[in-house]
């Protein structure tokens, strides 16, 4: 099916006056938007597949029906109850930084923009917690904590372009996750609106043993099971010291072994980044240490000065045993300077087809995963750019984060190659026992592989969805859950 063209959508633009009037009676007329130009801004997110469409003047999915911007939890509840009563699908929208289409309208949904819910409600320095509204900008949240001497420890590349609620809804991971944990380790409690308009409170406590975790049902649900309106997060004193080290390794294998041994030695680095030769090259130009040791790794330890120093030394011992030498700090400073911006714009601007895929693999499988995935995408298109790094590490395995880039070419041909590359990588990941998503989530773009990833777990998820959202109004068609009739598909064209 051909994607809809923006000009056609503009000509056919229609406004549901009755619905907009009802929404305005809840939130006020200023906070309901229905003009084509404003709705167009909500017809995309940062999914590269969507970008490929947008730059060609096409819609990746459909136009949203309306935009509504509630200013309180109660207003969200009223909006959802109205949507339920009228059987109108809705999508919660934060800052739209997702890269898999989780916030893309596929069936003329009403977009519920949560950015007016943006207060820091309370910072509790005794308990080490912060309660915040879901629509608060991530960078503004971190800045508020920093001003009090704290950090959330969740520092994704999208820090300044995402919301706190979005981090949780998409089950994200920050760049310092090896020390502070992923978002599921950081969130303590949440308040949300269920699809029937009722409120669910998961009170924040350090831990509870009262059956399965209700909280975790909604961490990563991407708005399919309700709308998170506020959260309570763990926070930490800002580290007294950070010690960063740049290492040059003789081989990728040696660097990955070092990362594994550092984690299995029970050290807690804030950052571990290992780059393959392709990604190391551009970051180490002119540094003599990398002439014979072409693999770049960056380690950062943080915390109390004494502890960070001891941990750093222990990690360096492991690295040296695997043939590494310490190199100048240039690559560390480059990463620190650019860690919160996107790398894709120069390529997307010039009509390249750039995308990233992150998967999780066991240490025993990662060498094969890297080799086979690289071979597979080069078989799809020999001149494709393929690079990888490993930047979230565990005792058991790591996230392999890959960058793929096709050169400018005919759009249909490129989308077919892009789809083949995604398919081959996802299948190899599953064959090797990995998970097809480490932290970007599912959205709709990963729908084709979720059945294989979750097996009967997908049936459990669908059963839950059917019970709490029988009319299927909450972000339908995402997470490989049942779409509404007539909805557009956001899937690779294989």
């Amino acid at each position: 099916m051909n994607a809809p063209v923006m000009l056609d959508a503009q000509r056919e633009s229609d406004v549901d006056l009755s619905l907009n009037g009802a929404l305005a009676s809840i939130v006020g007329a200023d906070f309901v938007r229905s003009g084509f130009a404003e709705r167009l801004a909500y017809a995309r997110d940062r999914t590269p597949f969507a970008t490929f469409h947008v730059r060609a003047g096409k819609l990746p999915g459909t136009m949203p029906r309306s935009i509504v911007m509630p200013g309180s939890h109660d207003e969200v509840a009223e909006v959802v109850a109205l949507a339920q009563a009228r059987n109108v699908p809705v999508i919660p929208f934060g800052a739209g930084s997702g890269v898999l289409g989780g916030a893309l309208p596929l069936g003329h949904e009403v977009m519920i923009d949560l950015k007016r819910l943006n207060r820091v409600i309370e910072i509790n320095e005794i308990d080490g917690t912060a309660a915040v509204d879901a629509g608060l900008n991530g960078g503004q949240f971190e800045a508020a904590l920093n001003a009090r001497g704290f950090t959330c420890g969740h520092l994704p590349q999208s820090l300044h372009m995402s919301t706190v609620g979005g981090w949780v809804a998409c089950r994200g991971a920050g760049q310092n996750s090896t020390r502070y944990g992923k978002i599921e380790d950081i969130i303590l409690g949440l308040r949300m609106v269920l699809p029937d308009g009722r409120t669910l409170d998961v009170r924040p406590v350090a831990r509870r043993a009262v059956g399965p975790s209700i909280r975790d049902l909604f961490v990563g649900a991407e708005g399919t099971l309700g709308i998170i309106t506020s959260l309570t997060m763990r926070i930490w004193r800002k580290p007294e010291r950070e010690i960063g080290t740049v290492l040059a390794f003789p081989t990728l294998e040696a660097a990955l072994i070092s990362a594994r041994q550092i984690m299995q030695a029970e050290l807690r680095p804030a950052v571990v980044r290992v780059y393959d030769a392709e990604e190391s090259r551009s970051r180490t130009e002119g540094l003599k240490e990398f002439r014979d040791r072409p693999i770049l790794a960056i380690l950062v330890f943080s915390g109390s000065a004494r502890l960070a120093s001891v941990e750093s030394e222990l990690a360096l011992e492991i690295a040296r045993q695997n043939g590494a030498v310490v190199a100048p700090d240039g690559p560390l400073h480059h990463w620190q300077k650019n860690r919160f911006v996107s790398y894709s714009m120069p390529w997307q601007t010039k009509n390249y087809y750039m995308d990233t895929i992150e998967v999780t693999g066991a240490w025993s499988q990662i060498p094969a995963m890297y080799q086979r995935m690289g071979d597979a995408v080069r078989a799809v298109y020999p001149d494709i750019h393929f690079g990888a790094h490993w930047s979230h590490v565990y005792a058991e395995g790591a996230c392999q984060y890959m960058t793929l880039r096709l050169p400018p070419m005919d759009d249909d041909k490129a989308l077919a190659l892009h789809a083949q590359a995604w398919d081959r990588i996802s299948r190899i990941c599953l064959e090797l026992g990995g998970s097809i998503s480490h932290h970007h989530g599912i959205g709709a773009f990963r729908n084709p592989w979720i059945g294989a990833e979750l097996n009967t777990g997908l049936d459990v998820l669908q059963a839950l969805k059917d019970v709490i959202d029988p009319n299927n109004i909450m972000n339908p068609g995402k997470l490989a859950l049942r779409p509404r009739p007539g909805a557009a598909k956001l899937e690779p064209r294989r």
Partner: protein, 98 residues
């Protein structure tokens, strides 16, 4: 970078500058972010979206883009670029009306 190329760059950038827009502002509308304005301006400049009163009204809502301009990591002046597109479109409209 040429002006249109800068607009395209911003259109494909996920708005790291948005943190400069205060949470206390009453309007928190995705359509007036720098990247959304750049995208819309790019689309009308390339003829993929028709220029009409609705589009003009959104392109003129530049308060957020102005507030976020100092936070752009790439030094792109989105309001100036959008104004350039508007001037060009208004000029074409006025030529056509003659």
């Amino acid at each position: 970078m040429q002006e249109l190329e800068q607009l395209r760059f911003c259109a494909f950038c996920p708005n790291p500058c948005r943190r400069a827009w205060p949470a206390a502002e009453a309007t928190q509308n995705e359509a007036i972010t720098s990247s959304a304005l750049s995208t819309l301006a790019m689309q009308v400049a390339e003829g993929r979206v028709a220029f009409d009163d609705d589009v003009r009204a959104v392109l003129m809502r530049q308060d957020m883009a102005r507030a976020c301009r100092p936070a752009c990591p790439y030094g792109i002046d989105v309001p100036a670029l959008v104004d350039g597109v508007l001037r060009n479109l208004e000029g074409k409209a006025s030529d056509a009306a003659r």
